[in-house]
Symmetry: C2
Subunit: 235 residues, 2 copies
Amino acid sequence: MNLLLLEDGDFIAADRVRLDGRRLTHLHEVHRAESGDTLRVGRLGGEMGGGQLLQLDANSAELQVSFDQPPPAKLPLTLLLALPRPKMLKRVLQSVAAMGVPRLILLNSYRVEKSFWQTPFLEPAAIREQLILGLEQARDTVLPEVIVEKRFKPFVEDRLPQLAAGTLGLVGHPGLYPACPRAVEQPVTLAIGPEGGWIPYEVDKLAEAGLQPVQLGERILRVETAVTALLARLF
Amino acid sequence: MNLLLLEDGDFIAADRVRLDGRRLTHLHEVHRAESGDTLRVGRLGGEMGGGQLLQLDANSAELQVSFDQPPPAKLPLTLLLALPRPKMLKRVLQSVAAMGVPRLILLNSYRVEKSFWQTPFLEPAAIREQLILGLEQARDTVLPEVIVEKRFKPFVEDRLPQLAAGTLGLVGHPGLYPACPRAVEQPVTLAIGPEGGWIPYEVDKLAEAGLQPVQLGERILRVETAVTALLARLF
């Protein structure tokens, strides 16, 4: 936790917050914080700044806070991701928030196991929890938008063409395709497939919607690694 | 497991292997393989090719194998990593093997908790297990060399200058430093710090040994994400 992220409910005055639960435990156990310490803070959806610990005990912490700094810029990106397996989903949500992806669309694909759609980690509160961990890691305050699309064909036919219009549309896909471009200047719509990859029909449909396949070399990367590698190369 | 990685002990003839244990379970449960199926195989430290399942039951599998393809090239890189916490270490070892790092040096740093050096995941057999998972993921056969250096100063003063000689020496470090270069052509020696970063003394010592700080932007990334992002940008 490199940023103590504050929500409206934490405020007991305009410049004062009271914390308990996970963040309190973290202050004790990881920061080993004491009264008087100053910490980086951010207001969820708002600015970042500093907080001074006025009081800290086993039950709560109180800080005086001020905000004077905008959060870091987001990437000019819409990321489409075939729904990963639940354990991977948690980590990918953290990575996506940490790297500054502003919009993530979790999409079905032929190779997404049906059981993955049943995971409790897809509940909005569970998604939000992982995104917050990513924001705290990277020092950002703005939650990415996460959209869940359980039907591939209607989404890709009816909605994706407008979403991708005016952007560089790319599909990360192993094979004899051009190498993923580097340091692009324009907004990007990027689709990353499931373990085992998109099936050819899906690659064709994504191409019809304006997303062209690009590759990262012959090594097959895990989804989480592929997301990070593609974003680091593109931006 | 995108490659069935075979070791000398698996061979019961020059072109035939018998498997049990983890790989057999994987064939049953993930590949749902049946007699007659063909699979990608690789010989640890050697070539890759194909294998046909001659027989498969609850106790063992037999394959007829042939090899005709070299493994993918490694990156021209020596990676120095402050020893991560044990859970992260496992994933980093997998990533490092998957991304094609040929040599990894696990190094002490002021912000590495002493207890991290006690983890059983630093045992050679445990390191090897994670590296193999990374090779199987990425389809590679060549184990990276992993060197454990528990003392920062003697290593950085006495051995690092020679290791880094003739390479582009870089330290990934947040701050007012030049941006990490992209698509470099020469060999690289790259050092990545612990959670919380290198301390200034360590940055100075690494610079004396020929490694200059570079940054990836204002977001603080987890070690595993930083490794992937830096490698994807550099190569």
